[in-house]
């Protein structure tokens, strides 16, 4: 250690703060100039932390389930009756669906329809919320040699979740469809009109740019569109709901606030690069 006079040491101590503030501005410039650097640092940190979070996730989920189970005991009878009712209704729908499916297969066979290739997928556990104050995303723990690439599509058991934006050695980050940067081409199922689903960081993304005269209807189902080659057609996204301000929004089919396990599908699409989250401009330059 170099011996300095007291005055020199005091001067140095006074200089530290301004120098570090200047360094933060430098860091901002560096982050803008080389966005991949930040992304790599983030994913390296996520890779290091993911096993800890994955280890903690199970006991925490157990605790949550115990608490939820205790509250469920109160209204178990009413719920049972409701479920029996629903089961009956679903059974009727199931027979209709099976009949329609068989008919569909027959018609497709008659038309020499080329079936869509069956996509390959991997199932992964959600280990942490990878969003920030201005982002909605989740972190998935995937094994090494997972083969997941940017732009692949995440679905839970009910519908579309989002797209993979960053991939680490053992983790992948999925930007949710509710994120501010998310834009998804969709089709309104009744009118078959195209629209764009715009994330707002809120629970319900907004519908915009629908074709003139094809106003979205309350309760109408919304599915993905194959336009631009970013998504395959007909993945369930959600249902239309008009907000109090009469803005058409979509209630996502996926349970985005309670994601536990998602499937990452590789449809072999490369139409549009994954959306940029704040602070990242990497995609285009990387290609």
């Amino acid at each position: 250690m170099i011996r300095l006079s007291i005055q020199a040491r005091q001067a140095l101590a006074k200089l530290t703060l301004p120098v570090l503030i200047a360094a933060s501005f430098g860091l901002m410039l560096l982050g803008k100039a080389d966005a991949l650097l930040a992304e790599h640092a983030r994913m390296a940190l996520a890779d290091a932390l993911a096993p800890i979070y994955a280890g903690l996730a199970e006991p925490l989920a157990g605790l949550r389930d115990t608490i939820a189970g205790a509250t469920d005991l109160w209204d178990i009878q009413a719920e049972n009756a409701q479920l029996r009712d629903e089961n009956e209704r679903l059974r009727r729908w199931q027979s209709i669906a099976l009949a329609l499916d068989a008919e569909n297969q027959r018609l497709k066979a008659n038309l020499r329809w080329i079936p869509d290739p069956a996509p390959s997928y991997v199932t992964a556990r959600v280990v942490a919320d990878a969003g920030g104050v201005y982002a909605k995303a989740v972190l998935l723990s995937v094994g090494p040699n997972h083969g997941i690439r940017k732009g692949e599509i995440a679905l839970d058991e009910r519908g579309l979740v989002g797209r993979v934006t960053e991939v680490g050695a053992r983790t992948a980050r999925v930007l949710l469809l509710t994120d501010l940067n998310s834009r998804i081409p969709v089709i309104l199922e009744n009118s078959r009109a195209h629209a764009i689903l715009v994330g707002t960081n809120g629970a319900r993304p907004r519908l915009t740019y629908w074709a003139e005269g094809a106003m979205p209807q309350e309760g109408e189902r919304v599915v993905t569109s194959a336009e631009a080659g970013a998504f395959p057609a007909n993945l369930p996204v959600g249902t239309v709901h008009f907000s109090a301000a009469n803005v058409p929004e979509v209630v996502p089919a996926a349970m985005l606030d309670r994601l536990e396990i998602v499937r990452i599908f590789d449809y072999g699409l490369g139409g549009v690069a994954a959306p940029e989250a704040p602070g990242r401009l990497s995609e285009r330059r990387e290609r």
Partner: protein, 184 residues
Amino acid sequence: MARADETPGIRPRSTLGRRLDIAARHAFPAGCTILLMLLTETPFGIADQAALLPAVTLACVYFWSLFRPAAMPPPVVFLIGLLFDLLGYLPLGVGPLTLLVVHGLALRWRPVLSRLGFASVWLAFAGFAVGAAALGWVLTALLSFRLLPFGPALFEALLTAAVYPALAVLFIRAHRTMADPERA
């Protein structure tokens, strides 16, 4: 410890255990800040959990800058800010700048603030929380070239101000007992 030799007086022999004890007490503020930051990212399944990270980080940096600046020097604040950026998925540099500004202002106003009561320090912190959220909002918007909604920033400021008393009560106790280098 070179510093210990500068003050006269009788003190226990400087054994390894004692030196470790002193080092641990010095490292407590930064260590518990980082640990709390990692804890806020644990999947508890709370709604809007992402806003906890800025709240906890800002409360820690403010408290220790005010009451034990020696254990929260600017380089440590910078590193905490960097971790904050990486964990919170913010553009790089936003965290260090915000936290360093909070640290610098807290140090500047320390002579006044440290003599005030708990409620006044909390009130001052609420001001810091609003300022930090606003600065973070402006910087993030500038660096990502888009207008961001005000809602999350406002919620962040409110949550930050609300989290402070709970953390401060714990820190005040730690400050007087286990984190006090004089008691080693």
